[in-house]
Amino acid sequence: MTQTRNLLGIRHLEPCDIETLVDLGREMKTRVLAGSNTLPDLSGNVVGMLFFENSTRTRVSFEQAAHYLKMKTASFAATGSSMSKGETLKDTILTLRYERLNGLVMRHKMSGTPVLAAKYFGGPVLNAGDGEHEHPTQALADALTVMERLGTLSGLRVAIVGDVLHSRVARSNAWLFSKMGSEVRFVGPRTLLPNHTAKLPGAIYYDLAAGIEEADVVICLRLQKERMEGAFISSVGEYAKLYQINRATLAYASKDCMVMHPGPINRGIELDDMAADGERSVITSQVENGVFVRMAGLYWAFGGEPFSKRSKAPKKAEVKSKGKVKE
């Protein structure tokens, strides 16, 4: 029986797991772009796409990843599921388990929900973003993108700028880059940074210039306009004036600094056009790499091994029944 795994967050991963996932993502990309027919074949597995919160890019990215791996997908949305009739999440998960779905990809507005799903599903569960907790595949996509350009994740200075308090992307990226040997900085207004950071791997900066000084990577976070009424910032304009990444502010960063954004972008607020579309921007690469690391995530969660450990190109992964789950 093949051992399956959950991908619930970056915090619990060992650096070797992160390395494996990024390497797998790179290999998937190579093979897809080459039009190779040597991609892992996970046909026979059905993965449930449980998106209880609106999502376009992540859902499509996972579906595309599953498609490349020849997996079938079963899509659910909260409004169309039994949960809209009052069914509990636990019962929904148990139903899907006994309908013999082989794995779940889950997006939920509440932190920790994929942990709960994993407890009752008993097979591979991949977190596609939970509340303000983690978004591991986004962080893996960012890591692959950085690796492609800089060749390493170690020894970098990574500044995560904006609404860290509400960002799952910020947490996953902070864990990932710090585990891989980077220096992580959280940059933003006091109201949008956590008050207590003893358990988070990053230093706090309220001043943009100081925060991104000599940064190799600047990850901009989306300013969630819907939160503007919560007294988090005085105005969008004021925020842009203080924290926008643009030609002038990028001067504080390293001259080769990469500009990243998990999207969707509020142009003119977090980034100006020059930063979003300029040569330092790798935003489209992040999107593209998202597909490949999600292929890696699915393959890994379903028990796949690093390609280097295999004597030849991977064929059919032997994952039809649920094995022991590694948290």
Partner: protein, 440 residues
């Protein structure tokens, strides 16, 4: 019927009594106790050697969910749990559905508590502070008091309007009713599910800051000092709240407060990977708070220990953390947790322990309980505790309908083994049968 509790350590804080001796219960009353007591014609003998004989325990803060949420707990199952936990009087909170804001509901509660299927303990109802617990209009305290409430509380729906709280306190002063306050500024706590701290930041959960509790404690203390209302603050959890209580007490304000075992044992780290059994209100805080809370129990700033018994059905707890309800069942674990974590650690003396669990809450709520003095309780209220009994708390073997607790499987030392409310109402399976005999 005459029962002899023989050779136990009799602990009665109401008389500062700590001695080894015998206690006699005859016709549902405590009729005598003392060392070298000669007793004739007894029907039952309980050998209490090495055990504590104490006034029946009093819990100032329980939720029995009837009417309205009987799937979680009923008065019958709740009182059975209370008896098993060593309690002979429990104060039932008013946030039922509908809330306890009219005399007919108080009658209903008292009838249920007196019914044969109930556990045999006294239920002291606490009335709603405002009609419907909506925080707008004060309730009919006089009618509620005539029906039998012992206090008024906004439990579960903390009154935000200071003017409403002021008026409630003024009326309660006139009627000599204490106000039991749920201290929470909901504008600060809204959406929160865990202590605002390093763990909430790590897990991406909205935190409830300590200021949400402390601002409300401060306001209520100020109003109590102004009105002279007896204010009992429920579930203090932060060192700041303890300091506020200490300051106002030193000024002579009529303020008391309680703490729960979960708040003097667990920190927010217990939440681990989103364990909803550790979701409490106020939230579990930090080790600094625990240290100050324990000191405050020792020096008397914190007057008593409450279970805040809050039953929830399993499907409600097995939900996403932010959706799960707050609280845990506690009646059957309070004694074990308190003795294990405080008394047997030398942090409270046996007499202090019984005071926190019996005499002090009875005094605060002016209940006919919490003492062994002859004739001062309507019937004998006596709890026998084995302070050194080692056992494992198994929530599946409890009387409560709900099983939500983070302490399932906890290794404990100390247990209530016999409960008398009038006659014997509960004898624990771990009370050695050889210790009991009938005299023919």
């Amino acid at each position: 019927m005459k029962a002899l509790l023989k050779n136990g350590r009799i602990l009665d804080p109401s008389q500062d009594l700590d001695m080894v001796g015998n206690l006699v219960i005859e016709d549902d009353q405590v009729v005598a106790y003392g060392p070298d007591l000669k007793v004739k014609d007894v029907d039952e003998v309980y050998d209490c050697t090495g055990l504590w004989i104490a006034p029946g325990l009093v819990d100032p803060h329980v939720h029995f969910c009837e009417p309205g949420k009987e799937h979680k707990e009923t008065i019958s199952t709740g009182t059975q749990a209370a008896a098993a936990g060593g309690f002979t009087t429990v104060c039932m909170m008013p946030n039922t559905e509908p809330p306890l804001d009219n005399p007919a509901l108080v009658d209903f509660i008292l009838d249920r508590a007196a019914s044969p299927e109930a556990g045999g303990v006294f239920v002291a109802p606490v009335g709603a502070l405002t009609r419907g617990l909506l925080g707008r209009e004060i309730a009919d305290y006089a009618a509620l008091k005539r029906a039998g409430i012992v206090a008024a509380s906004d439990e579960g729906f903390p009154t935000q309007d200071s003017n409403v709280m002021l008026k409630a306190m003024e009326f309660c002063v006139q009627l000599d009713l204490p106000v039991l306050a749920h201290c929470e500024d909901t504008s600060l706590s809204v959406g929160g599910s865990i202590n605002d701290g390093a763990i909430s930041a790590m897990l991406g959960l909205k935190g409830i800051p300590r200021s949400a509790e402390e601002i409300s404690v401060a306001r209520n203390c100020i109003l109590a000092a102004e009105t002279g209302c007896r204010l009992h603050i429920m579930r203090v959890s932060t060192w700041g709240a303890v300091e506020l209580v200490r300051q106002f007490k030193s000024l002579g304000a009529p303020i008391t407060c309680e703490v729960t075992p979960q708040h003097f044992i667990l920190t927010d780290e217990a939440v681990g990977e989103f364990d909803a059994t550790c979701k409490m209100l106020p939230p579990l805080r930090t080790q600094v708070d625990i240290d100050i809370v324990v000191q405050a129990l020792q020096d008397g700033t914190i007057d008593c220990i409450a279970s805040d018994h809050s039953p929830h059905a399993s499907h409600e707890v097995q939900a996403p953390f932010e959706e799960a309800p707050f609280g845990m069942v506690g009646l059957e674990s309070v004694v074990g947790l308190t003795l294990t974590h405080l008394t047997n650690q030398g942090l409270l003396t046996p007499l202090q322990t019984i005071d926190k669990l019996s005499t002090a809450p009875a005094t605060i709520l002016r209940l006919d309980a919490g003492t062994l003095r002859l004739g001062e309780t309507p019937v004998a209220q006596v709890t026998v505790i084995d302070p050194s009994l080692e056992w494992t708390f198994d929530v599946n073997k409890t009387f409560s309908k709900s099983k939500n607790t983070p302490f399932h499987g906890a290794k404990l030392r100390g247990k209530s083994v016999l409960t008398f409310c009038g006659s014997e109402i509960y004898r624990d399976a771990m009370f050695d049968n050889k210790r009991y005999r009938t005299v023919l």
